[in-house]
């Protein structure tokens, strides 16, 4: 079936469409608010459609730690992201997060104009251990609780980017907090590594913590792996410099499906993104 063969290509096109729609959406919301439409409000920290509130679980966790209090509407607001993360993993990162979108553009630039160095670094891909990954999140939350500082808000690039877009459009300009995000971009540009999304981001890690084992995952079947290319196309395709064929792919993998697309391109089906 022709349709079946290009499934991951279509999936990736939908993903890119979703990323661009998100950016346009973040620009549209404050514009709509200015002309008087108030049923849609918010940024990627928390967004609301009419009476339906959706909040970032990492920020909700931070609020609980800072207030030692369970505010029920806020907990309910975190349910939708938690449910999506439970079934599909960190698809927020790969389909929505504007930080990842911009990082992917930067990587595309490196791949095209600095190919040699990019390949050299991409070959050194490595998976992240589950202890390291959640250890970093736990440390961040611990510091948040100990110092009574909203560290997760500072270190939430999707939140900072979206709220800066809103502030800029509402006429209060951009602030220094955008420097946090810019520093990440600059560091990653020179390091050729996506450490932020792969290791450090509290927003992604919190979503990853809810990803349940049996649900949407990149599945590797060694028996089907026949393209014989070195380095393997799936590894070269991974935006986070992970190795799709090895264990420990999760929780760092955010289910973008680019490795499955690369595998599909070679005409094989060794890597599938399935439930």
């Amino acid at each position: 079936m022709k349709n079946k063969r290009s499934f991951y290509l279509t999936l990736n096109r939908l993903r890119v469409l979703s990323q661009i729609t998100t950016i346009l959406f973040l620009i549209a919301v404050p514009l709509l608010n200015i002309v008087g439409v108030h049923w849609i409000l918010g940024t990627l920290y928390s967004i609301s459609f009419g009476k339906l509130d959706i909040a970032d679980p990492a920020i909700v966790a931070q609020t609980i730690l800072l207030t030692w209090n369970l505010y029920i509407p806020l907990l309910i607001a975190a349910l939708i992201p938690i449910l999506i993360a439970f079934i599909c993993g960190r698809v927020f990162c790969s389909w929505i997060c504007p930080h990842n979108t911009i990082s992917e553009w930067i990587t595309a630039f490196q791949k095209r104009f600095m190919t040699k160095r990019w390949r050299q670094y991409q070959k050194k891909s490595k998976n992240v251990g589950i202890r390291v990954y959640f250890g970093i999140l736990a440390t961040l939350l611990l510091v948040t609780a100990l110092f009574k500082t909203p560290l997760v808000s500072y270190l939430s690039p999707p939140g900072v980017i979206s709220s800066q877009i809103s502030q800029l459009i509402r006429g209060s300009g951009i602030g220094l907090e955008l420097a946090i995000v810019l520093l990440i971009f600059i560091a990653e540009f020179f390091l050729f590594q996506r450490y932020w999304c792969k290791l450090l981001c509290p927003v992604g890690a919190m979503l990853g913590a809810f990803h349940w084992k049996g649900k949407l995952r990149v599945q590797f079947q060694a028996a089907e792996c026949k393209c014989g290319k070195r380095p393997s196309p799936c590894q070269m395709a991974c935006p986070l410099q992970l190795e799709p064929k090895k264990k420990n792919l999760y929780p760092a993998c955010f289910n973008c499906g680019l490795c499955a697309k690369a595998c599909e391109n070679t005409g094989h089906k060794a890597i599938q993104l399935t439930f």
Partner: protein, 176 residues
């Protein structure tokens, strides 16, 4: 040791007192509760609510009102949309808002200097209650009913603004 570290840290990042949107819970709790989603600023039709940038200090992302520029017109849209309870969702009556308290500096206020002026008295949204005229001339603030919206501050025609809003958090500090 942790406590001393925390105190040093909070000294470094000591925050100023800001006028918060209507329905805000006490300052310390407000800082912890606010999730920086900007919804209150977005829903504000008058653009009264601004979001602090990092340039202003560690409380960035939280909403403030600069009454001097654009005061709060008490439309009561923002408290009900706050997702985290940093603004009291149940607050509907504008009379019940307590954001701060207007304070008159009699050395600058025109009626006290012998010039007839009723700007603040005329514009006060809690009309003839929160600001009353003593001897039909001198404005006096009724601390019980003043909402702290800041409309008086924004309309004061004196060269140096004679009526200013003291944010609730600042008042609480003084009482201690």
């Amino acid at each position: 040791m942790i406590q001393s570290l925390t105190s040093i840290f909070s000294k470094i990042t000591k925050s100023k007192t800001y006028l918060r949107p209507p329905g805000a819970v006490p300052e310390d709790e407000f800082i912890s509760r606010c999730i920086k989603c900007s919804k209150c600023a977005q829903v504000c039709s008058y653009n009264s609510i601004k979001i602090l940038h990092l340039n202003a200090g560690k409380d960035f992302g939280t909403p403030v009102i600069e009454a001097k520029d654009i005061p709060c017109y008490l439309c009561m849209e923002c408290p009900r949309i706050c997702p985290s309870g940093a603004l009291d969702n149940a607050l509907v009556d504008k009379e019940k808002v307590r954001m701060g308290l207007a304070v008159i500096d009699e050395s600058k206020c025109l009626p006290f200097l012998g010039v007839i002026c009723r700007s603040c008295y005329d514009e006060c949204p809690i009309h003839r209650v929160a600001i009353v005229l003593e001897d039909e001339l001198l404005p006096r603030i009724d601390a019980e009913t003043c909402t702290g919206c800041g409309i008086c501050e924004s309309v004061c025609p004196a060269e140096e603004i004679a009526i200013t809003i003291k944010p609730l958090s600042q008042l609480a500090d003084k009482r201690k």
